[in-house]
């Protein structure tokens, strides 16, 4: 859509911005009593953010602890069979009648052994159908130990809807996908997509959907998934 005024209004705004910036900002050194000397050009963002251990075990441990706080079910499994067995237990407990998943090596290995009918969200899907599924099983880009977040992207996780529309979101990840912190996550995304173009959707999902809007009392499953399960495969 292009109305004739679009370009004009853009130009007008840029003129106003440049005029406004003609005077350099006045900074008030005395009004910033805390100016830590360690903020130098060499400093990295990881230095200020919450500490994460260097070894895989430490990171795994932190991820597990963060998951408890976030009410994410986190489980390390030894194989696709064990992952499927766990999901089959969840299916019985929660009376799942249908689950949805997308194409992917982990998904395919696990989905083949599920007892619940599987709705495939591969090249296209019907949102009304997807809405009736009891769980959405996706892969991910990475798991972030520091914050307990799952990094989802459109290509890695079956698009935008699969991970948010069904009431239970299950993430399947490999041990090699565990990363330390948020700067590492952005570095990973840059390496993978920086040159060829980023996906239209990247999300850090941290725990199941939640709200505290009523009396600041935590309720899970406001609009998105009520439950989040993360299974770590070899």
């Amino acid at each position: 859509m292009s109305s004739p005024s679009t370009a004009d209004s853009r130009d007008a705004l840029f003129v106003r911005i440049r005029e406004a910036l003609a005077n350099p900002a006045i900074s008030h050194a005395h009004e910033h009593p805390v100016h830590p000397a360690n903020v130098t050009p060499e400093a990295t963002l990881s230095q200020w953010l919450p500490a994460v251990g260097a070894t895989f075990e430490e990171q795994l441990d932190l991820l597990a602890r963060n998951s408890v706080d976030l009410k994410t079910e986190f489980k390390v499994v030894a194989s696709a069979e064990e992952a499927a067995a766990h999901l089959n237990t969840l299916a019985t407990e929660n009376k799942w009648t249908k689950v949805a998943t997308h194409r992917g090596s982990l998904n395919d290995a696990v989905a083949a052994q599920l007892t619940t009918p599987v709705y495939r969200v591969d090249d296209q899907f019907d949102k009304v159908q997807l809405e009736t599924c009891d769980a959405g099983i996706t892969e991910c880009e990475a798991l972030v130990a520091q914050t307990g977040s799952v990094c989802l992207t459109a290509p890695s996780s079956g698009g935008r809807s699969l991970s948010v529309l069904p009431p239970h979101h299950v993430v399947l990840a490999r041990r090699s996908q565990l990363i330390a912190d948020l700067p590492a996550a952005y570095a990973l995304l840059k390496t993978k997509y920086g040159a060829k173009g980023y996906p239209s959707f990247i999300s850090f999902t941290t725990g199941p959907s939640r709200t505290g809007d009523i009396e600041r009392i935590l309720v899970l499953g406001a609009h998105g998934p009520k439950k989040l399960t993360v299974l770590l495969l070899p």
Binding site: F201, I214, A222
Partner: protein, 469 residues
């Protein structure tokens, strides 16, 4: 129409007297503070994080033209339509025209304060479009036909029975006193709206120049649904939300979560870099970003207060503000309440009409200390006071200061007054708190401190005579 200042005074008096509500809000904010401190402590160096965040924002805001152009170029390269709106009218017209052109019938919205700023819902409804707010708090406020109380916690002033009654009256649900059940009522009600809607409107917490993305922070998943299912996604964003680089988010996301709601990371932090791309299985066909000025460039032109545009709208300054806790969010009469609202509203809507907000502060500085991007909030309140007085002096204030100056330059007169003050105070109870009382504004609800019976000078002489140090 009543002047903003008179309204403010009236509502402040009413709300400050509502002690149960005040206590309720105070308790909720205390819970927030505990969680915030817990997560702040996880940072290896919170003060350096603040400093760095402030420097990144400084870079972005002070080269706003460069970064906005970069954002637009990169966003457009991915098929995003970028529109720059100078005024609320331009922004509203753009969205309304788009909705008309695409035969939109129903619109779902996730939280965007910018749309409150331009009264988008009213405009859309007037044009015949159905608009539903999907954030639980905003949904409740929409049903109440009331603006948000707090820009992060929209209905934090309401108790569960009030919400239950509201749902009962407006959407016919059964009464309940369980927050969980109330949340599920809203969930069920809104589910089908997402599926039906053909346009989703969101805000954005950040826009990234380097990659042409917007970043949206939320807990409920409503913004994710709003931006996944409808065939058109419109994001309405203030021009100051700029960040130069994508990796800057690795600092800003946890800082926003921590300062904003006491969460190390908010539930969903999502970056959108265009409409559905080739090879992707879903997402909107069209993605529009409407960047709005609405007087932000006037604040930008104020070299002294430009850093107020660093604001990431976390709400931390409201949460710690004694004034906010006592008078509540609606009293401000502004889109943005609390300390940051008091600083920026005079720039956005006129200094003389809104200067009273900068006056309504004890200048305790709690806001400045809480701010994750180190905006010098309480000094900006002082600067607004100074600028307002310089621009349009108030005659009686001026004469008061002249009188005060005379008094302070006449030691004898001053001495005589300190001697007579206790006598005057002895008779004060006769008029105390009434309209005859010159101190009425203070004494109506408070005690006036007793004036000293000896002056410091006399006291010192006395001490010296006694040989004390």
């Amino acid at each position: 129409m009543i002047a903003p200042k008179s309204l403010f005074k009236r509502d402040a008096a009413i709300n400050a007297a509502d002690v149960p509500r005040r206590t309720f809000v105070r308790n909720a904010l205390h819970g927030y503070e505990v969680k915030r401190d817990l997560n702040k402590a996880k940072f290896q160096d919170w003060q350096s994080a603040r400093e760095t965040a402030s420097e990144i924002k400084f870079e972005g805001i002070n080269h706003l033209d460069k970064y906005l152009a970069e954002f637009a170029k990169n966003a457009e390269a991915r098929g995003t339509k970028v529109f720059f709106a100078s005024t609320p009218t331009q922004a509203r017209e753009y969205i309304i025209n788009l909705a008309r052109e695409k035969n939109v019938r129903s619109i779902i919205k996730s939280k965007t304060m910018t749309s409150e700023e331009i009264h988008l819902n009213d405009a859309l409804e007037k044009e015949g479009f159905g608009v539903v707010e999907s954030d639980l708090g905003e949904f409740i406020q929409q049903l109440r036909n009331e603006p948000p109380y707090h820009f992060v916690f929209p209905c934090m002033h309401l108790k569960r029975d009030e919400i239950s009654q509201l749902f009962h009256d407006k959407i016919g649900s059964a009464q309940t006193d369980s927050p969980e059940e109330l949340t599920m009522i809203a969930r069920r009600f809104l589910r089908e709206k997402y599926i039906q809607a053909d346009m989703g409107i969101s805000g954005a917490n950040f826009i990234v120049a380097e990659t042409g993305m917007i970043s949206v922070t939320e807990n409920e998943g409503n913004a994710r649904l709003t931006t996944s299912l409808p065939k058109i996604h419109v994001a309405l964003v203030g021009i100051e939300k700029i960040l130069p680089k994508l990796e800057d988010l690795s600092l800003f996301l946890p800082m926003l979560g921590t300062a904003g709601a006491g969460q190390l990371m908010t539930g969903y932090n999502t970056m959108f870099g265009g409409p559905r791309q080739p090879g992707e299985i879903d997402g909107p066909e069209e993605f529009h970003v409407v960047l709005i000025d609405n007087h932000r460039t006037e604040l930008l032109a104020d070299a002294e207060q430009r850093d107020a545009l660093h604001c990431i709208r976390c709400g931390a300054c409201l949460n710690v503000c004694p004034v906010f806790k006592n008078i509540g969010g609606h009293t401000y009469g502004t889109t943005y309440a609390g300390p940051v609202g008091s600083v920026i509203t005079p720039h956005l809507r006129g200094l003389q009409d809104w200067k009273h907000l900068s006056g309504a502060s004890s200048l305790c500085g709690a806001c400045t200390e809480a701010c994750p991007v180190k905006i010098d909030l309480h000094h900006h309140l002082l600067q607004n006071r100074r600028n307002a007085a310089a621009e349009k002096p108030v005659w009686w204030e001026k004469s008061l200061w002249i009188g005060f100056a005379i008094l302070m330059r006449q030691p004898t007169l001053y001495y005589w007054l300190t001697k007579t003050a206790p006598i005057a105070q002895f008779f004060h109870p006769l008029v105390k708190g009434s309209i005859l009382d010159p101190m009425q504004a203070w004494t109506r609800t408070r005690e006036f401190p007793m004036s000293a019976t000896t002056t410091f000078k006399d006291y010192w002489k006395q001490k010296k005579k006694q040989g004390a140090r």
